[in-house]
């Protein structure tokens, strides 16, 4: 007698019900908007004439490359995203997009963004974009994020590179100015993300992500936020005395920096209960405005300089 009964095995392939909105969500549109803006500033402050079609192509490729990094990040991090309230509704942990679909989407967009930028604009920019995607998806997401409390410090380099890629697209080379923009975003990243981590500590702890407040505690994080903010304010103002950006930028940078510093001190001093959470939320919110405003001023300077001959 056979111990194997006759069963009809029905294998129904999974039919995707992912909508276009789910794929757009994989691109992390809010992060992408900041990438587009900082890249646009990198492009606009670059010297020489850059044809608008090539400028549009460059920004589009950088935006798609950033989106591809986001999709690869969501593919790899689906397990920890499912454990955190902030990320549990993302398409992969919510089950609307399979991990394989997210991976394929991220890889295809990475390939097309890098190749298009390289072929249509130049390979310095294409190579830098490829490095940025690799750094975010592999170095940060697959390694640093789950391995060290310095994850967002080192990983912040990926988020700081878009204006450098844009400058390279416009000029075919690198210079001091895009490096300054890189440094501003690089030193902005720790206070920004650690402020977030201070009011999302439970989330990160549940997902076993070694963010600084989880590993070293809230007070050590508050001190680090303050120290990084001091360095950030100094670095953001430095291009003015060094002669790279104008006084309008320098003075605005110091004024905005004073706001960042004041909120960082509030975070450092308010250590208990609701005031502590409120201070962290305020710093997190203001930090976004701070970076946006700094880059907006640079953009405004370029526009004013370009328009000045028309009026004077």
């Amino acid at each position: 007698m056979s111990i194997v009964e006759n069963h009809t095995l029905t294998l129904t392939p999974r039919i995707s019900e992912a909508g276009v909105a789910d794929y757009i969500a994989l691109l992390k549109p809010r992060v992408m908007s900041l990438v587009i803006f900082t890249a646009l500033v990198g492009l606009m402050i670059a010297p020489g004439h850059f044809h608008p079609v090539l400028a549009f192509t460059s920004i589009l490729c950088i935006a798609v490359g950033a989106g591809a990094s986001g999709a690869l990040n969501m593919w790899y991090d689906a397990d920890i995203d499912a454990l955190m309230s902030r990320t549990a509704k993302r398409p992969v942990p919510a089950g609307r997009v399979t991990p394989q679909e997210a991976l394929a989407f991220g890889l295809i967009l990475s390939f097309f963004s890098v190749m298009t930028l390289g072929i249509l604009v130049n390979w310095v920019a294409g190579g830098l974009l490829a490095f940025t995607i690799f750094f975010y998806a592999v170095v940060y997401t697959m390694w640093l994020k789950r391995f060290t409390a310095q994850n967002i410090v080192i990983g912040g380099a990926a988020g700081a590179l878009p204006p450098v890629v844009a400058w390279a697209a416009a000029t075919g080379s690198l210079a001091v100015e895009p490096i300054l923009l890189f440094l501003i975003i690089f030193f902005w990243t720790p206070p920004h993300f650690w402020a977030l981590a201070l009011f999302r500590t439970d989330d990160y702890a549940r997902a076993n992500v070694p963010m600084l407040p989880v590993v070293a505690g809230a007070n050590a994080t508050r001190l680090q936020i303050l120290l990084y903010t001091v360095v950030l304010v100094a670095i953001a103002a430095a291009p003015w005395p060094l002669g790279y950006f104008d006084a309008a930028y320098g003075i605005s940078s110091l004024a905005l920096g004073a706001g960042m510093l004041w909120l960082a001190i509030k975070v450092y001093r308010n250590r208990e209960d609701a005031p502590a959470l409120r201070a962290a939320r305020q710093l997190f919110g203001f930090s976004i405005l701070y970076l946006f405003a700094l880059f907006a001023i640079l953009l405004l300077e370029v526009v004013v300089k370009a328009a000045a001959p028309l009026f004077w």
Partner: protein, 53 residues
């Protein structure tokens, strides 16, 4: 006697709608890519073959 064909995979209305939306999005993306390559070719003119490193 003719054997009846198995029905195969039958998509629900929701699946058909999403599939159609995805197809349109892919078509649009490919269209943008084609237009982009065409526009840059026109902009660069004969310089399209010059690829600075």
């Amino acid at each position: 006697m003719d054997k009846e064909k198995p029905p195969g995979i039958v998509l629900t209305e929701a699946q058909k709608k999403r599939q159609r939306e995805r197809s349109i999005a892919i078509a649009l993306a490919l269209g943008v890519l084609v237009v982009l390559f065409f526009a840059v070719t026109i902009v660069k003119g004969s310089g399209v073959l010059v690829r600075p490193m």
